[in-house]
């Protein structure tokens, strides 16, 4: 049964991906991107990664779609045809994809219980976390307690991203209202910082 669900989800995912490439109407592209995220969330659920599926559905299909719509209001609804032939990008993508697939040959089998990734600290988390942390959801124990420093760093990164967006968008507004060329150059500095965030 699970294999049927896998095949259906992957087929739909592939079809959505091709449609995303082909369609020039950006409104349709945004909607398809949301569907793509939702299908990915379904795949994560099949793989028992419910926490990841939850995040993908909320962020990918929810908030990003709204933000893309906000960007569309600024950028217009139609994508221009690219001025170059797709041959060179195609070669680059095929070669990169081939190298990546070749790289997976050396990796241990997907989901195999003997893989190193399942025997480093994972055993300890699964067997001891209920006694040490006292909560049933191992994902939360790892995220907030065993790997608390990483989560704090992650929260700081999210904050830094917002600071970048604020510098980028609020700064541009001030420059426009004053409409002086010197201020315009200041905004360029803000844009650089935004990219780093």
């Amino acid at each position: 049964m699970s294999i049927v669900v896998d095949i259906v989800l992957f087929t739909l995912l592939g079809a959505t991906g091709f449609a995303l490439l082909k369609i020039r109407n950006l409104f349709a592209v945004v909607m398809l991107a949301g569907i793509y995220s939702l299908l990915s969330a379904g795949l994560f659920t099949v793989m028992d990664a419910v926490d990841v599926a939850f995040t993908e559905a909320a962020v990918g299909a929810g908030i990003s779609t709204v933000l893309f719509l906000g960007a569309l209001a600024l950028a217009g609804h139609h994508e221009n045809r690219p001025g170059h032939t797709p041959l060179l990008p195609l070669v680059v993508v095929v070669v990169t994809g081939g190298v990546l697939v070749y790289g997976t040959m050396d990796m241990p089998g997907f989901g195999h219980p003997g893989n190193p990734v399942h025997h480093h600290v994972a055993d300890h988390y699964l067997e001891e976390s209920y006694d040490e942390i006292g909560i049933p959801n191992v994902v939360t124990s790892v995220l907030a307690s065993y790997r608390g420093y990483d989560t704090m760093g992650e929260t700081t990164v999210v904050f830094a991203a917002a600071v970048g967006v604020m510098l980028l968008l609020s700064g541009a507004r001030r420059a426009r209202s004053r409409a002086s060329p010197g201020e315009g150059r200041d905004t360029g500095g803000g844009a650089g910082k935004g990219d780093a965030g």
Binding site: F54, A58, L74, E132, G134, I135, A144, Y149, A162, V165
Partner: protein
């Protein structure tokens, strides 16, 4: 979308349930999938929905940009602050065992610690998502 009765009533009807669900995802994160990050995104989505239907100005009256900007920083402060508190109590940075009221049951401290740092994540993610949404949406309005 302001004239569509069904959308207006539907959004108004859904928003409290979405907010409630976000709080559930946060406080039940110890037992079921979810946690601060997902809860923050869901909470932000509730306000994004209201802003899409009722307009940015109406929502910013309830939730001003200054407040969401402050939330973004406050969450990081809560997270880092929990670490400082555990250090002051004589344990490692973010060593939640320090928060237990009964030292023979250190896992209670873990429980409180996780809930607090997840609250920090929630506040930051909520603040960041709403701030970014406000900035994008506000720019579009001004441009047109």
């Amino acid at each position: 979308m302001r004239e569509e009765v069904i959308i207006r009533v539907g959004a108004k009807f859904l928003a409290p349930f979405i907010i409630m669900f976000a709080l559930y995802v946060h406080f039940h994160g110890d037992y079921s999938p979810g946690g601060g990050f997902q809860a923050g995104v869901i909470l932000a989505a509730a306000f994004a929905l209201l802003a899409l239907v009722y307009g940015l100005e109406a929502v910013q009256k309830v939730l001003p940009l200054r407040f969401t900007r402050m939330c973004a920083a406050l969450g990081v402060l809560i997270f880092a602050g929990v670490g400082v508190v555990t250090m002051l109590l004589g344990h490692n940075y973010l060593g939640y065992n320090a928060l237990a009221s009964d030292p023979t049951h250190p896992e209670h401290g873990q429980h409180y610690g996780i809930l607090l740092v997840e609250l920090g994540v929630l506040v930051t993610v909520f603040g960041v998502m709403v701030t970014v949404f406000y900035l994008f949406a506000g720019r579009g309005r001004r441009g047109s």
